[in-house]
Amino acid sequence: MSEVYAHNIEDIPDQLGYLILNEDGAVLSSHGDLINDEKTAKVFMRMVQIAWKVKLCEEQRSVQRLSLIFSNHILLATVSNGKIYIVKKAYVPEQADSES
């Protein structure tokens, strides 16, 4: 069995957790808030399948990234080498700093 390489995902600033899925949506690796989060894996699998078919213009080569922005965190997903990488990051809106 080949080992799943996390590509320094743990070094991403403000990273709260990550999931790595294979083409079938099975969790290959997980960490932090997303540890063994099968529910999020399933939803992202379906969303990636929909999103990666979307064509916004004729010259478009591919979809690069899918992000879900919540009030205090962001979930980012990308596909590379037949794997789906999902990262959860903390999100602090810029306005919050200026108002305090």
Binding site: A51, Q60, R61, L68, I69
Partner: protein, 97 residues
């Protein structure tokens, strides 16, 4: 009511960097579109909103962002999707603006 929506869509399209805008209901029925956002986008937009709503029903619906690339910078676009009151709105925006 329909003309009011079209008017709002046209106004939004005037903003810098906006290439197109589309509104759809949760079943994927296109309620209105302007610019480069074709009616065919209504289905995927509604499906993405539905998936997010099913998973996180108690939270404020997230903003869904889809980023694309191409050989020319004109293909570097973002599709921003937000659902509110059962209506999904998708805006196609240039990444360089």
């Amino acid at each position: 009511m329909e003309s009011l929506l079209q008017e709002k869509l046209e106004t939004t399209l005037q903003n810098p960097g906006i290439h197109g805008i589309v509104c759809t209901d949760m079943q994927g029925l296109c309620l209105g579109n302007q610019g480069a956002a074709f009616e065919e986008l209504a289905g995927p937009i509604a499906a993405l909103c539905e998936e997010a709503y099913k998973q996180w029903p108690s939270q404020d619906s997230p903003v869904i962002v889809l980023e694309t690339t191409g050989p020319k910078s004109s293909a570097d676009l973002s599709l921003l999707i937000k659902m509110s009151d059962g209506i999904c709105t998708g805006i196609i925006k240039s990444k360089h603006n």
